[in-house]
Amino acid sequence: MTSRTGRSRDSGFYQMICAENLTKKFDDFLAVDGVNLQVFPGQVLVLLGPNGAGKTTTVRMLTSVLKPTRGRALVAGYDVEREAEQVRFNIGVLTEHHGLYARMNAQEYLEFFGKLYRLELKQIRRRAEELLHRFGLFEDRFRRLGEFSKGMRQKLALVRALLHDPPVLLLDEPTSAMDPESARAVRDAIASLRSGDRTIMLCTHNLSEAEELADQVAIIRRGRIILSDTLENIKQNVLGPAEFQATFSKSLDGWSADLPEGVVLTERGANWLRFRVQDPPGTNPELLRMLSARMEMVTFQELPRSLEKAYLEVMRRAVIEEGNLAQ
């Protein structure tokens, strides 16, 4: 494990979030079971999983709110158990329930939290103005929070998390209550926050959001990380080699051909064919030559391999595996 004062931190390659065998048990219920995570500066880790999988419990352990039953974790180089105060200074958290104070206005609310982070009033006001502008809330800064819409509340909660400019952001369902426009604004903001040394951990059910933002994806089920890798590797490992579709100008009645090695015909339609290609850069030129020699080809494109497909496949395999273990 990386030490806060160790060489790796000085060299700039230390992990901003590092969890080792992180486990949480509530009485007899094992909520999180031996989670290992490593997130480096500038990376976005998306934690995916069904409801009750242990995402929020993991986040709460990383924010030093829950004490791990076993294992340990460092956030921004600080131990979540022994250096809780330092951890909290270095994180910005958007919780599942944004929980704003209805009788306060946005400006008061941000000033209150800013003071808790020991920021100077001038600094809070400058930062609040900048962030409120960025999230389109500046005009509403003196309105009571009780009058805010769900999306506005969510955005303000995000502003609160960013107020002290933390190096680590832990976001639990950041766009869950937002209209598409606001969700887009928040996603753009998250994407822009990724730059520099800031590390983001995002818990979401929204797979397209995850796909858009993630550098790394960890899939959690029943408290265990069942898969963790980069987005591309997950797609490659779970869904197999890339698939391509060739569309022709005419019907393919009676079409057959000897395909190059490493190419498998997976599906066919009236005027299209789908191939799985083991080594696209090496094989595609030959495949293209062969197909266009026989018929007039309109398009040849790679089929998008969605994270959703990969996620569902991982979950399906996990269910089967659990069934086998139970037997």
């Binding site: 009485d27 829950l66 958290v93 919780t95 599942e96 704003l100 104070y101 009788r103 939290f113 003071k115």
Partner: protein, 471 residues
């Protein structure tokens, strides 16, 4: 230090500002501050006029400070509502987690909440009292004397702190506002009894006792704050969602503390009981000192409550002991069981009292018993009974009975100490069950058998020995 207190004031000022924007809090507070004192002024004027007609001026004199106390108390009852929802209300509204994620330390958050629940109702109390006193001045009714007013102000402050600190403890441990309101009866009932007691003392005019009430409440407030801080856990606020009574879990915790890891009764005595008694060393020492203090205080009472025993009564002493010897024949079980049960139930009462007072009231039965012994010994000695004879009336069974009572009381005292000690890995419920298990262990393993033996000696041997010495 001041820098560390800054977050406390940030939390408190936000909460107070929030309360001042809530008409549900403002309306009763304004009503109790501005209108209620006038009503009390009117009541005082009418009552004074009425009682003066019949020359009962003393009733009027006592009524004026009593109403001042009531005017001060009513607004602080609002503090209970505010404090009860301080943590659990935020938990229900989902606003507690962002707060828990800030670099606040637990004690800062706790004290901030405590302060914010205490200051507005207390300010309102003082305003109400000022309005009431102003009314008295206008009506030309003399104010209570300054020491009395200081006493009432102090009583109001400590009552507010006791109520708020108790309610904040409840709020931290409850899973919902509803549960907190249900648990509030543990605060409302004792405070209602306290107010009744204070009212009686005020009309009785025993003001010195009220100073003791102030002192007792201050100790209670300090203990409640200490217990609240010791058991405040961020984790508990978020981790616990349901409050179904889990009998299996309770039994498991109790059994583990009661029985430990041993396999046989002999091992239980050898390892568990001896380990528990060793862990109670300081509590035993304190209880022993308190028992001695009880004896000395009891003996001292002879100066205030001396009863001269005439020579005839003393001459009849052997006759009376003889009657006792006849009534309690050797090996008769009934007198033994009566004595034993009397002692056991006193110790159970001590435990019940200790449970609701962080052990403070739990030591009173022992001190009172020891006081009675001290008084009796002093009375007999002063009346000319030789000390050896007096000791013979007590010593044969007391040698066993008193150590047993000291052990049981020490276990109660220890329970209070455990409750006030930070236990980050255990909940307040767990600690409470453990302390009850420890007391039960000491009672079942040591005290009850010792008391049985002491009762047998008291019924079968002591009277006969006393008779022998008196003759």
């Amino acid at each position: 230090m001041l820098n560390n207190l800054r977050p406390v004031f940030i939390i408190a000022s936000r909460e107070i500002r929030d309360q001042l924007r809530d008409w549900r809090i403002i309306f009763p507070v304004v009503g109790l501050t501005l209108f209620f004192p006038f009503l009390m002024n009117f009541t005082a004027q009418q009552m004074l006029g009425f009682v003066q007609k019949y020359g009962a001026t003393i009733v009027g004199e006592r009524l004026v400070p009593f109403l001042l106390m009531i005017v001060g108390f009513f607004p602080i009852s609002v503090s209970l509502v505010i404090a009860l929802e301080s943590f659990v209300g935020e938990k229900e509204r989902g606003s507690i987690e962002p707060l828990l994620n800030t670099p606040l330390q637990d004690w800062q958050l706790y004290l901030g909440k405590l302060l914010s629940s205490t200051v507005p109702p207390l300010t309102s109390s003082f305003l109400g009292m000022a309005v009431y006193l102003g009314g008295l001045r206008i009506q030309n009714i003399p104010w209570p004397e300054t020491p009395m007013m200081i006493l009432i102000v102090l009583l109001t402050i400590v009552q507010a702190i006791v109520m708020v600190s108790g309610a904040v403890v409840v709020s931290c441990q409850a899973t919902s506002v509803r549960a907190a309101n249900l648990l509030a009866s543990f605060i409302v009932i004792p405070v209602a009894l306290l107010i009744q007691g204070e009212s009686i003392l005020m009309f009785w005019g025993t003001y010195s006792t009220l100073w003791w009430a102030v002192f007792g409440l201050m100790v209670m407030a300090a203990l409640l704050v200490r217990v609240g801080l010791a058991h405040f856990q961020r984790e508990e606020l978020l981790g616990r969602e349901i409050d179904v009574l889990n009998a299996r879990w309770i039994w498991r915790v109790f059994k583990k503390s009661f029985w430990g890891d041993v396999r046989s009764l002999a091992d239980w005595y050898r390892f568990e009981i001896s380990k528990t008694i060793r862990s109670m060393r300081i509590s035993i020492l304190i209880t022993f000192v308190l028992a001695l203090v009880g004896i000395l205080l009891g003996a001292d009472l002879i100066h205030q409550f001396f009863i001269p025993l005439d020579q005839e009564s003393l001459a009849e002493l052997d006759e009376r002991i003889g009657l006792l010897v006849k009534a309690w024949p050797v090996f008769a079980v009934k007198p033994v069981m009566s004595i034993w049960w009397q002692n056991v139930r006193v110790l159970i009462l001590a435990m019940v009292l200790g449970t609701f007072s962080f052990s403070i009231l739990g030591v009173l039965p022992l001190m009172a018993s020891m006081g009675a012994v001290g008084y009796l010994m002093a009375l007999l000695t002063v009346n000319g009974i030789p000390a050896v004879t007096t000791l013979a009336f007590i010593l044969p069974h007391a040698v066993i009975e008193v150590p047993a009572a000291i052990l049981a009381t020490a276990a109660i005292l220890r329970a209070g100490v455990i409750m006030g000690t930070p236990t980050p890995d255990r909940t307040v419920g767990e600690v409470w069950i453990e302390s009850i298990a420890i007391w039960t262990k000491i009672m079942a393993g040591v005290v009850i058998p010792m008391l049985l033996l002491a009762a047998a000696i008291e019924a079968w041997i002591t009277p006969r020995l006393a008779l022998l010495l008196v003759k």
